[in-house]
């Protein structure tokens, strides 16, 4: 009962402190909106490719390759890739360099040469893929022609115009900018619990009320658990508000495993509270709050709360710092849960959070028992 009344008192403090509450809820929501809108393009996976123009110089003097290529050019012309003869006197490579065309093809009796443009890498890749497909088919037809010339046409006709087949892996399930920041901000707010926890005991000492709590006929453990419980519930309510706001106002995608997502966030809040508490015991005085705030901000920065940090940026010192951030663990795990339906990705995050929470709580309990008063 004492635990409950201390927890309720703690929640009253949290929800009556309008300035902190506004910061806890307003800041992430505003940031979600601003960053989500500002970085929309950075998260877009759509690339529009217009008509692709390729210059062709046929130096074969006619013949099977020339004929086959004409058929190929006619076929792919329907997809927006046009092969046009190189103008007399023009230099094909210079045409590419000057960006007049996306590629230049030379047909000789030795084979086909393609000069692509590094400026239009995607267009060049498309042309390269089509030509590779064409040469495979032409080589097969040439081999058949040597044995059974009558069936050459049939080989060239196989597959029709299917020179490029587009395949994508669940293209609709990649996070947009609002989705990304909804998750990142929620995880960051969960981690902010550490800052509140840093003042959990310090606050009572500074207010002078620690005296009244210690002289009351209750155990120190009841004070400790009550305060932790109140802090955890308050922070979780803030996290839930951010989730619901992002889901229903910003239409952020939270996947089909909300229970798992919430479980991860609960473990994160418990770990953050334990971290803040341990920090306040180990770094005595008001300085602890500054140190804890700094640590949380660094965790947010390296954890990708303000801008996405990709996996391939994970090398060296940066990679080391990135992987130390609990925000990174949670972001990474929850992205897998939400976008790849990979529920098992939550387990390592849960285990890490619970493990560190146990460690920090152990440190806090030891420090509390050794200390006179709170």
């Amino acid at each position: 009962m004492n635990i409950l009344s201390i927890a309720i008192k703690e929640m009253k403090h949290d929800f009556r402190d309008r300035r902190t509450l506004l910061f806890m809820l307003g800041f992430p929501i505003v940031l979600m909106l601003i960053l989500g809108l500002a970085l929309t393009n950075a998260f877009s996976s759509e690339i529009s490719v217009g008509d692709v123009k390729v210059a062709v110089k046929d130096a074969t003097g006619g013949g099977p390759l020339s004929e086959a290529f004409a058929g190929f050019a006619k076929e792919v012309g329907k997809t927006g890739v046009t092969f046009e003869p190189l103008k007399p006197g023009a230099n094909g490579r210079e045409e590419v360099e000057n960006n007049h065309v996306s590629g230049y093809v030379e047909l000789t009796n030795q084979g086909i040469s393609l000069y692509g443009s590094s400026r239009d890498a995607i267009e060049s890749n498309i042309v390269q893929g089509m030509l590779a497909s064409f040469t495979d088919k032409y080589n097969a037809a040439a081999a058949v022609a040597r044995i059974e010339p009558a069936k050459t046409e049939m080989v060239l006709a196989t597959g029709g115009s299917d020179y490029i087949r587009e395949l994508s892996v669940d293209a609709n399930r990649t996070p947009g900018s609002v989705d990304y920041y909804a998750l990142a901000m929620t995880v960051m707010v969960g981690m902010w619990a550490a800052m509140g926890a840093g003042a959990l005991i310090q606050g009572e000492v500074l207010r002078g009320t620690a005296v009244r709590l210690v002289i009351a006929p209750i155990r120190k453990s009841e004070i400790f658990v009550g305060k932790m419980l109140g802090g955890i519930i308050s922070n979780l309510l803030c996290v839930m508000v951010i989730i619901l706001f992002s889901k229903y106002v910003f239409k952020a995608y939270w996947g089909h495993h909300m229970g798992v997502v919430i479980a991860v966030l609960v473990s994160e809040v418990v770990m953050a509270m334990s971290l803040g508490l341990a920090g306040s015991y180990l770094l005595k005085g008001t300085a602890s709050r500054g140190v804890i705030s700094l640590v949380v901000q660094l965790m947010s920065f390296f954890g990708g709360a303000y801008f996405p940090i990709l996996d391939d940026e994970g090398g060296g010192l940066m990679g080391f710092l990135v992987n130390l951030s609990p925000i990174r663990w949670a972001n990474h795990g929850l992205t897998q849960v939400i976008y790849a339906d990979n529920v098992s990705a939550a387990w390592p995050v849960l285990m890490l959070n619970i493990g560190f929470a146990a460690l920090f709580l152990g440190v806090s309990i030891l420090a509390m028992r050794r200390r006179e008063g709170l």
Binding site: M1, N2, S5, K9, K12, H13, R16, D17, R207, G208, T209, V211, R212, L213, V214, I215, A216, P217, I218, E372, G373
Partner: protein
């Protein structure tokens, strides 16, 4: 019955001995004045009685139960009014009182009744739903008292409950202390205002360097210093050099300054008033009045400790 028994109490912080083998007995129904200058050891003693600090050695008994062994019993019968305000500014007066009273096992209607009673006792019933952040200093001090008495403790420790408040609130608090005492509470009262202690305390202990150097009723304490006289001299202006000026006069022990008045404590057996006045006049001091007073508690304190209570 003894409500508090302290035997051989010692508290050391490293090499510093804050409380030195102190023994003290307080009987039920007393208002006990606990006097000492800053750093004398009274707060450390109070903190050990309230279980905020663990004694290095010695024993504390509340209602004949050792607080180290039966701390729950001791805590239930103890109420503390700390020197610094110990209230939540963002909780209403009622919420403050009922929260702290709830920690003493009070629930439901009984809790409500006791919280309302405590607020009424300190004259804050009409402010029950107000937040202390909007209270005056005196009202906050009264709420501080209400939080300590709602669970009806038998022993209440009041550590300078009237610091920094207006005379009206101070009178209210002093009246409340008397009423609490009349209702059966034993009170340990510390203050830097000697006149308060003199007015309400039935017995007084003077603490210095972690030891009780004198103990008894105010009359008993005053009777211990018959060898000292207290001369009050009002000057036109005081420069602060008067102490040095009067030190060479035979019999002068201490010189205190209070605005335009200097108070000279001197050996009663030495007839030195004329020499004191001559010394002042030779230094160009303009004397407005001279009065020889009966020793009061302040004289006792000064004589015994060599320090002013507010030092």
């Amino acid at each position: 019955m003894n409500i508090l028994d302290i035997r051989g109490l010692t508290k050391k912080f490293g090499d510093f001995v804050a409380v030195d083998n102190m023994s003290l007995t307080i009987r039920e129904g007393e208002i006990f004045g606990f006097l000492g200058a800053n750093g004398a050891g009274k707060s450390t003693t109070i903190n050990m009685i309230s279980s905020l600090l663990r004694p290095t050695s010695g024993e504390i008994r509340i209602l004949e139960k050792d607080i180290a062994k039966q701390s729950r019993f001791a805590k239930t019968n103890l109420g503390i009014v700390p020197q610094d305000l110990a209230i939540y500014e963002d909780m209403t007066a009622y919420e403050n009182v009922s929260f702290f009273a709830g920690l003493y096992g009070l629930r439901g209607d009984k809790l409500k009744e006791r919280a309302e009673e405590a607020l009424e006792f300190v004259g804050l019933s009409d402010k029950a739903k107000s937040f202390p952040k909007n209270f005056s200093g005196g009202m906050k001090r009264r709420l501080n008292i209400a939080c300590a008495i709602a669970h009806k403790p038998k022993l209440i420790i009041m550590d300078e409950p009237t610091v920094g408040i207006d005379p009206q609130s101070r009178n209210y608090i002093l009246t409340s202390v008397r009423k609490l005492n009349e209702s059966g509470c034993t009170i340990i009262y510390t203050s830097h205002y000697m006149e308060e202690v003199e007015e309400i305390c039935s017995r007084i202990a003077i603490v210095d360097h972690g030891k009780i150097i004198a103990e008894g009723t105010k009359e008993q304490l005053k009777s211990t210093i018959t060898d000292v006289k207290d001369i009050r001299i009002e000057l036109k202006s005081v420069q602060g050099t008067e102490g040095e000026l009067l030190k060479p006069v035979p019999g002068v022990r201490t010189v205190l300054q209070e605005e335009n008045v200097i108070r000279v404590h001197s050996d009663a057996a030495v007839d030195n008033l004329n020499r004191i006045l001559k010394q002042l006049m030779d230094a160009g001091k303009e004397i407005r009045s001279v009065e020889e007073q009966e020793p009061n508690l302040e004289t006792v304190f000064l004589t015994l400790t060599g320090r002013n209570l507010r030092d």
